[in-house]
């Protein structure tokens, strides 16, 4: 299979969902069965992505396939010279893995939704939106340039908006959609500015060309500070999309959307796009930028984990755990654990999708009850859901033999190594704390939902195991949360093919002075980074990290069981004793309130003030000058009436008077007039005296 063919297939994979979106949107009303067509198309796309993945990871495992075309061309432009805008696709190992992940989860979510969304009044429309989303997400994955990514980035935002607000009759849903879009836009502005900086400097959007530009020593506006700024600004896009602090607020609200959507978009794929973007621009990140990224990631993961501890909505807990895990990935990228970050992205996608679909299954069974305080004991009623949910929970908690253990352990090791190399010990500390919390709140969730006795007997009685169409995706996803798919050795992630062969950290292109010393490539020509120092550090921390994470997770699980299963410790009492902290967590650190009070109200208020300014001051000046003109007109009118017109009237009066006097002369007889003419002539003659 030739390279060109692979690219063509990838383009087909990209366009298939778009095609089905259009078909479904336009004809959806007439043919309600079109959702099957849509699902079929996605399945086809999945199969094709399998084909691409197979050939890419076997035949072309070390090469990068790329294809560019000119979107628009300005020709020779004054000052700049040749100027054109290109778009293109690129297939490397990351791409094909992402293709696989996106298409697989999308396909499974389609199957799941057929059952879950059954009976909705906009059933086909829902599938159309899923198609649009899949298209946009694949676009991000396939693009080889920032512009392409930005375009699909926004389209992903659109489909996310449409899907979150799918049940727009609920005000909370449409609010959440709007919030998601706007919050993302904040990040997008940063990303856009970052792209502008890079484009202005290097005249291209293409990653490879930008990298080679940086490698050749050209800096934006002759300063590495601007390069740092560009990196951070582009990362801002990821902050928005991957729900990092301070733009994380939209993701929990996004749970207003249908649960399968949460699984697909807000857990597995779209939110991971931010991480994916940072993966793509990893090579141009300077040390400062990486530190910022690491800190933001770490803080986000801590923030979200603390909030997740106290939430009672099954989806909210999962949402905050998603934010927390995304923070992990971002942190990992910040500390230079590139491969582990991406690895975690993939494993997280599977187990988190499984968790969300599992929660969807529970919610479906409980007739749209989401509060875990109303659940309990569902283990018996829903064995498949329980089993898959448990496997995924183990994975997210980092218990050995799961995929999550592999990726999370490597990631935490990366933070430890970073701490050792740079002295930023706070980051690994946060990392391990969050690991503990994660295990705790996830098991709290599992125990409260599935274990114990039902707390709402009525709803429990009506609960039932989900049908096959919903169960199969759960089984597939939980199966993918087992270590065996990634490495043969359950405790050595990098021994496997995933990290050993497919994913390797690219070498940085940033000038040495501006990058971490452990990131400097020993062989500057190599594409893949190779740093003795870093590898040594990683080797040193590997086992301590593993032991620490297993120990913490174990303790956390034990704690969760003793609090919620065995009831040895009363959680309410603890909550009572640290009431302020508990409330702080329950209310999500009051961040929403803070934003509402500051930015949102501030902007609206500013809008109102400016409108007042517009209507009263600007327009006031206009109307005022009009008024002034009118007053002047009135004054001159008065003048006109009484002075000018007075004169006129006087003249008229005089004329009238004279007229009356001379009226008699006006006899109407020609001859009389002639007499006057005669006298006038005589008069003239006398006056001028021609004689």
């Amino acid at each position: 299979m030739s390279e060109q063919l692979l690219i063509n297939i990838s383009l087909i994979v990209l366009l298939l969902p778009l095609f089905s979106f259009f078909i479904t949107v336009v004809f959806g009303k007439r043919f309600p069965k079109l959702y099957l067509f849509e699902t079929g198309i996605i399945s086809l796309a999945f199969l094709l992505s399998l084909v691409i993945g197979f050939f890419k990871l076997t035949t072309y495992v070390d090469s990068k396939l790329a294809f560019d075309f000119t979107w628009f061309d300005f020709g020779v432009v004054p000052v700049i010279g040749e100027f054109k805008v290109e778009l293109g696709v690129m297939i490397d190992n990351i791409t094909v893995i992402m293709l696989f992940v996106v298409n697989l989860i999308s396909m499974l979510v389609h199957y799941f939704s057929i059952e879950y969304m059954h009976g909705d009044k906009r059933y086909t429309r829902y599938f159309a939106y899923l198609g649009l989303f899949t298209f946009s997400m694949l676009g991000i994955v396939l693009s080889n340039n920032l512009l392409g990514i930005y375009i699909f980035w926004e389209l992903v935002g659109l489909s996310s908006y449409l899907l979150i607000g799918f049940w727009f009759e609920k005000n909370s849903a449409s609010d959440a959609g709007k919030k998601a879009f706007l919050t993302n836009r904040v990040g997008d502005i940063g990303m856009f500015l970052g792209i502008l900086i890079l484009f202005t400097t290097y005249g291209t959007f293409n990653f490879d060309k930008i990298f080679s530009g940086i490698a050749s020593g050209v800096m934006p506006f002759e300063s590495t500070a601007w390069l740092t700024a560009a990196g951070i600004l582009v990362f801002l896009g990821a902050v928005g999309k991957s729900a990092q602090f301070p733009l994380h607020v939209w993701l929990p609200d996004a749970m207003e959307g249908p649960t399968p959507v949460s699984a697909l978009i807000h857990a597995a794929t779209m939110v991971a796009a931010g991480v994916y973007l940072v993966v793509r621009i990893f090579a141009l990140l300077t040390a400062d930028a990486m530190l910022v990224i690491a800190v933001i990631g770490a803080f986000t993961s801590l923030l979200a984990a603390t909030i997740a501890l106290t939430q009672n909505d099954i989806k909210k807990v999962l949402a905050y755990s998603t934010v927390s895990q995304l923070g992990y990935m971002v942190m990992a990228l910040g500390v230079g654990a590139y491969a582990f970050a991406f690895f975690h992205l993939v494993t997280h996608a599977f187990f988190k999708a499984c968790l969300f679909l599992g929660s969807g299954s529970v919610i479906h069974a409980m007739h749209h009850e989401q509060d875990i305080r109303e659940m309990g004991g569902l283990k018996k009623k829903m064995p498949i859901t329980y089993a898959t949910f448990l496997i995924s929970t183990l994975a997210i908690s980092g218990i050995p033999l799961t995929s999550g253990f592999l990726s999370k352990d490597g990631l935490l090791a990366g933070t430890l190594a970073f701490g050792e190399l740079t002295g930023h010990w706070l980051i690994p500390i946060i990392g391990f704390t969050v690991a503990f919390m994660t295990a705790f709140y996830m098991f709290r969730l599992v125990i409260l939902t599935f274990h114990g006795s039902p707390r709402n007997q009525h709803k429990f009685d009506h609960a039932h195991e989900s049908p096959k169409l919903m169960a199969v995706p759960l089984i597939i996803l939980s199966a993918l949360s087992i270590f065996i798919w990634y490495t043969p050795n359950p405790i050595a992630p990098d021994a496997g093919w995933f990290l050993g062969k497919w994913i390797e950290t690219p070498s940085t292109v940033v000038p040495e002075a501006a990058s971490f010393d452990f990131m400097i490539n020993e062989d500057p020509a190599a594409d893949v980074i190779h740093s003795e120092k870093y590898e040594h550090a990683m080797h040193t921390v590997h086992y301590p990290a593993m032991g620490l994470s297993i120990g913490l997770a174990g303790m956390a699980i034990l704690l969760a069981f003793s609090m919620y299963q065995w009831k040895k410790i009363n959680p309410d009492k603890i909550a009572e004793s640290v009431k302020p902290l508990y409330n702080f967590s329950l209310n999500k650190w009051y961040i929403d309130e803070l934003y509402h009070a500051s930015f949102i109200s501030g902007t609206l208020m500013l809008g109102k003030i400016l409108f007042w300014f517009d209507a009263n001051i600007v327009d006031g000046i206009v109307n005022g000058s009009a008024w002034f003109t009118r007053v002047m007109a009135k004054i001159s009118g008065w003048f006109d009436t009484f002075v000018v017109d007075g004169l006129v009237n006087f003249t008229a009066f005089m004329s009238g008077f004279i007229g009356l006097t001379f009226k008699r002369i006006q006899t109407g007889k020609v001859q009389t007039y002639l007499v006057f003419v005669l006298f006038s002539i005589v008069l003239l003659l006398i006056v001028f005296r021609p004689f």
Binding site: T672, V675, L678, F679, V682, L685, I686, F691
Partner: protein, 165 residues
Amino acid sequence: MNIYDIIFYLFAIVTLVSAAFVVSTKNIVHAAFFLIFTFFGVAGLYILLGADFIGVVQILVYVGGILILLLFGVMLTNKITNVEIRSGTTQIVPALIGVGLFAGILVLTMVSTEWKSAPGEIPFTTAYSLGKVLLTDFVLIFELLGILLLIALIGAASIARREKE
């Protein structure tokens, strides 16, 4: 005082006296007849001035044409036997004063002005030269006047025929 002067005064007196009668007589028919004398007098003056052709035309057109026309007008608009034929006058006093003054000043002006007179040869007959000039230099005006006369003819007939509404 040569014969020329005598003839001039003769004609001048005839003209002016008869003109005075024209404007002062009450009887309109008398006025018309005095007008004939005036025209004759003027014709005499023309001839004295060497304009023989104009003099002849004066007699032909005025005496033969216009005056007959006027008489017809008188007869059509007045019942001859009626007293009405004795036409009245108005505003005699202001007219006398005005016209008197006017005439005085005019005559004074005419007489006192130093005219740059350069009397040339009096041609024996002017008909030839007039004819030549009329059909060369003034041919356009000549033609136009012909048309004017035609229009006047038609117009006069048309106006005179209009019935009272």
